[in-house]
């Protein structure tokens, strides 16, 4: 069980208890213990989540809906209970607001293809930001090309914050949709969404929040945010790959056409056409990732037992510790806010004169897993003026020891390239 009491002055020992829950942390990489700091790409899974998958296949596996036999009833209950649990986790009023998808990317594409294609026309504007992940850019470019809508990008300041004034200046009565990330997957920047959403609403725009990094790192409450859409991925919050979530306000979901057709989303099929089921099932054509949904519920249980406020505090303390250590390290340039109050669990930096891929490779030689590259944020890279950066990102099982091994690895990088 995860440690339950990680208050803001959380000590390494307390949350350390979590490490034992993650079997992969026993692995050695090139003769060194694994120091996994690539959590913004995907997190590791606790034993309980892995067991939830095994349990599903060893005891309950069946297709969902439409069958009366015991296994199918059990599989359906696991799947639909997962929907309800996810709804509670993000403060959604009902399980009917939750569509299961493959991940954040598919969730955003669903909104682009169903909602946006139906609502946007030439003259309309979509507001994004330069810090968006490609998954929150390319779907809008595709829909913009089809509909003739235009895209405006809110600037990122040199400190790595969203330029709040520039954002406001982009909003106008033609703005139909605003799509923003909760937390930058490169800089860790947390955007002041409540405020921005209400500003967008004042102009009649609909708001999608990309929660891929935010939902795993902080309490996220859709009722408080009041966003129309929230997209996030299971695999970045201790759950398996292949399962993700689109939250949408119920009346909006009810107005949307399905994007994929097939089994499980119709009530009636005639030669000439078909009648859709109600949401959310209308949007889940075909056999879904049932085991993935069941295991996502277990991941939510795991995070809830720790407490998302505690997760947030813990990542803030690690971020502070790491920022201080990186500041001490010679020849390291850190990007982004460098302030754990508005930066959540993700740090971008470079070793001067060393290409991020070379640095990441040398870190890997001592078991430190970080990612180097553009992190699916080429617009942000251009704004930062670099082709690529190194990124260290935390999750619940990381501790100060991981940060120390990172710093040790960076000393090694400097020695190799001295």
């Amino acid at each position: 069980m995860p440690a339950g009491s990680c208050s803001s002055d959380v000590g390494a020992m307390e949350i350390n208890a979590n490490r034992a829950d993650f079997p992969i942390l026993q692995r050695e990489i090139n003769g060194h213990p694994l120091t996994y700091l690539d959590n913004a790409a995907t997190t590791q899974k606790p034993r309980s989540v892995i067991q939830a998958i095994t349990r599903f296949y060893e005891q309950h596996n069946a297709n969902v809906h439409r069958a009366v036999h015991t296994l199918s009833e059990e599989a359906t209950a696991l799947y639909e209970d997962a929907r309800a649990k996810v709804a509670r986790f993000i403060g959604a009023p009902s399980a009917r607001c939750i569509v299961f998808t493959r991940g954040t990317t598919e969730a955003i594409n669903l909104v682009a293809q169903s909602w946006a294609r139906a609502h946007l026309t030439a003259g309309n504007e979509i507001v994004l930001s330069e810090m968006e992940h490609h998954s929150n850019i390319v779907p809008w470019q595709m829909v913009a090309r089809e509909t003739g809508a235009a895209i405006r990008y809110a600037r990122v300041t040199p400190r790595g914050l969203l330029d709040r004034k520039h954002f406001s200046s982009l909003l106008n009565k033609n703005t139909r949709l605003v799509a923003l990330t909760h937390t930058s997957n490169v800089l860790g920047t947390v955007n002041p969404l409540r405020d921005m959403i209400s500003e967008a609403h004042d102009l009649g725009a609909v708001v999608l929040v990309d929660g891929a990094q935010g939902v795993p790192r902080a309490p996220v409450d859709v009722a408080a945010l009041d966003c129309e859409f929230l997209a996030f991925s299971g695999h970045k919050m201790l759950a398996p790959t292949g399962i993700g979530v689109l939250y949408a306000k119920e009346h909006i979901l009810a107005s949307m056409e399905p994007v994929q057709g097939g089994g499980g989303m119709i009530t009636r099929v005639e030669e000439a056409g078909a009648e859709w089921m109600e949401p959310p099932w209308r949007f889940e054509a075909g056999t879904p990732n049932i085991a993935g949904a069941a295991a996502l519920a277990t991941a939510v249980d795991y995070l809830t037992a720790i407490g998302m406020a505690e997760v947030q505090a813990w990542e803030a303390s690690l971020t502070e510790y790491a920022l201080a250590a990186l500041d001490q390290a010679p020849g390291i340039t850190v990007f982004g806010p460098r302030d754990s109050l508005i930066q959540s669990g993700v740090i971008a930096f470079n070793a001067d004169g060393v290409h991020p891929h070379d640095a990441a490779q040398i870190l890997d030689e001592v078991g430190v897993a970080v990612r180097g590259g553009h992190h699916c944020c080429q617009l942000l890279m251009r704004r930062l003026g670099v082709p690529a950066v190194l990124r260290a990102s935390f999750s619940v099982y990381n501790d100060q020891g991981d940060v120390e091994r990172l710093i040790g690895g960076l000393e090694r990088v400097a020695r190799v390239f001295r």
């Binding site: 090139n30 003769g31 060393v354 290409h355 891929h357 070379d358 490779q361 040398i362 030689e365 001592v366 590259g373 553009h374 890279m381 082709p387 690529a388 090694r412 020695r415 190799v416 390239f417």
Partner: protein, 143 residues
């Protein structure tokens, strides 16, 4: 793992990465190509002067990681003074080794041995091959 021997970053790679041979541009090149790996941000420009089918001079301008820089440097030494078509065949042979289709480097590519370690790292293979892709694609400059 010892820092200076073995592994990807053995001394010879680092030495070539820090002091790439034949770096820069050939003036009035008769052969030219750009190659890039947008996934890493690596970019490279090859310029050469071709005399009777022979690569009389070949130079690289590289913005990228140590592997691609060293690969361009090592390659320039191997193909300098070679027949262009022979050099392109060498490139295909090297690609075959790096992609696991052939197992051993032939004698005329022995100088590339330090790069063979890269093949253990799938995501980096393209770094070692990028200069050779540029040679394969290179076309007459200016005309």
């Amino acid at each position: 793992m010892d820092e200076d021997k073995g592994g990807l970053y053995r001394a010879v790679i680092l030495e070539h990465a820090k002091n790439p041979r034949n770096s820069g541009r050939v003036e009035n090149p008769t052969l030219q190509a750009r190659a890039s790996n947008p996934l890493c941000g690596d970019e490279l420009e090859l310029t050469a002067s071709l005399e009777g089918g022979i690569l009389a001079d070949i130079r690289f301008q590289v913005r990228g990681c140590a592997i691609v820089t060293a690969a361009a440097s090592l390659m320039s030494q191997v193909v300098q003074g070679q027949d262009l078509e022979v050099a392109r065949v060498l490139g295909r042979t090297f690609a075959g080794v790096m992609e696991g289709e052939a197992s051993d480097l032939p004698a005329d590519l022995a100088a590339l041995e330090p790069l063979v370690e890269v093949k253990k790292h799938r995501s980096r293979i393209k770094c070692a091959l990028l200069p050779w892709y540029a040679l394969a694609d290179a076309e007459g400059a200016g005309g």
